[in-house]
């Protein structure tokens, strides 16, 4: 997915070359797995995990940071979740940086009145503990709007919220809304009209059992025209996600 955008992936750990060779063969991994045996490069990046005492097996591991690096060596962006159990997925990077969505990634279309919403995940498959992305594309018929934030009391902001035990953290961001004078509110409020898109992230719990799960959520909004305002609505949806089995490490000893 990233290759098509002229990017390559490589991974660094403190494992021996032999361990990495076994691991790559077992899981048919084709990206370069680099062996930083004495953690010198990990130290050079300043990301050595200094919490782990000498003598412990994990002494020498890094904090799990991911960097998007330009060919000239400058960091474009970095990704880090401050919990060693969590990682940002390559699919999420491809989606956020380039708008690339895997072909098999699930989407769902919701309709109500003048509004059509297409929701989708950045990927069809993920591992427990990973952070994936989702998008929500909104399209309103001419003359209609929904609300942004902040809003006066009694109005419903447009939002997407997932729930269920598989998600430990989430975010959803919409572009800035345009101010509009609403006569019956006697106020200027932020609104969206036409087509617009929001972007969100979902941090998956760790651990989770492998298999297919349904990620449930709801879109909340209130659609109004210049003359009428519909009551606030919340449409529920579900998107399937396949959780991959945990990759069992090669135990060299």
């Amino acid at each position: 997915m990233l290759e098509g955008k002229g990017l390559r992936i490589a991974a660094v750990s403190y494992d021996s070359r032999e361990t990495l060779q076994h691991f790559a063969e077992k899981y048919r991994i084709q990206i370069p797995l680099l062996s930083d045996r004495d953690s010198a490069v990990i130290r050079g990046f300043g990301i050595l995990n200094t919490n782990i005492a000498p003598g412990l097996r994990a002494h020498g591991v890094p904090h799990p940071v991911e960097y998007l690096i330009a060919p000239d060596g400058l960091v474009i962006r970095k990704y880090f979740v401050p919990n060693y159990q969590h990682r940002v997925t390559a699919s999420s990077v491809a989606f956020r940086e380039f708008g690339v969505v895997s072909e098999e990634a699930p989407t769902v279309t919701l309709r109500s009145g003048a509004l059509t919403i297409v929701l989708g995940l950045s990927t069809a498959r993920a591992f427990a503990g990973q952070e994936i992305s989702f998008f929500a594309k909104f399209a309103l018929e001419p003359g209609w709007h929904v609300y942004g934030a902040p809003l006066p009391e009694g109005c419903t902001t447009t939002s997407v919220m997932f729930d269920g035990p598989a998600i430990v953290r989430q975010s959803f961001d919409l572009p800035p809304a345009a101010p509009m004078r609403v006569n019956f509110l006697e106020e200027t409020v932020p609104v969206y009209s036409g087509s617009f898109q929001g972007l969100g992230s979902l941090l998956l719990k760790f651990p989770l059992d492998a298999g297919k799960i349904m990620l449930a959520g709801r879109v909340s909004f209130q659609q109004c025209s210049d003359t009428v305002c519909e009551p606030p609505e919340a449409i529920e949806f579900e998107l399937p996600l396949i959780l991959e089995p945990f990759m069992v490490a090669i135990r060299s000893k």
């Binding site: 955008k5 490589a10 782990i52 060693y84």
Partner: protein, 89 residues
């Protein structure tokens, strides 16, 4: 553990060893120990070079033993470099 190890590392080591012992024995890890383990592992975490900064030059062997650097790892638009804990455990 050796005596010259700072006290806070010894405390963290005790948590990590207990966590590792339960995991190795296939026993459930109590939520409290799990949380302590996450906190001990992530304490004072560091994330290295910021966006716009240059990464340190390096060359490392890949799984085939071929020495690789950013120049020969990168695609025309760049490289996603992933640091992870281990493929060994």
């Amino acid at each position: 553990m050796a005596n010259n190890i700072p006290e806070d590392l010894q405390e963290k080591a005790a948590i990590m060893q207990e966590f590792g012992r339960l995991r190795a024995a296939g026993q459930p890890v109590p939520a409290e120990l799990q949380a302590k383990h996450v906190n001990a592992t992530n304490d004072r975490y560091a994330t290295g070079p910021e966006a716009g900064e240059r990464i340190p030059d390096f060359s490392l062997p890949d799984q085939e033993g071929v020495l690789r650097s950013v120049a020969n790892l990168s695609g025309p638009n760049g490289l996603l470099l992933v640091f992870y804990r281990s493929a060994d455990w």
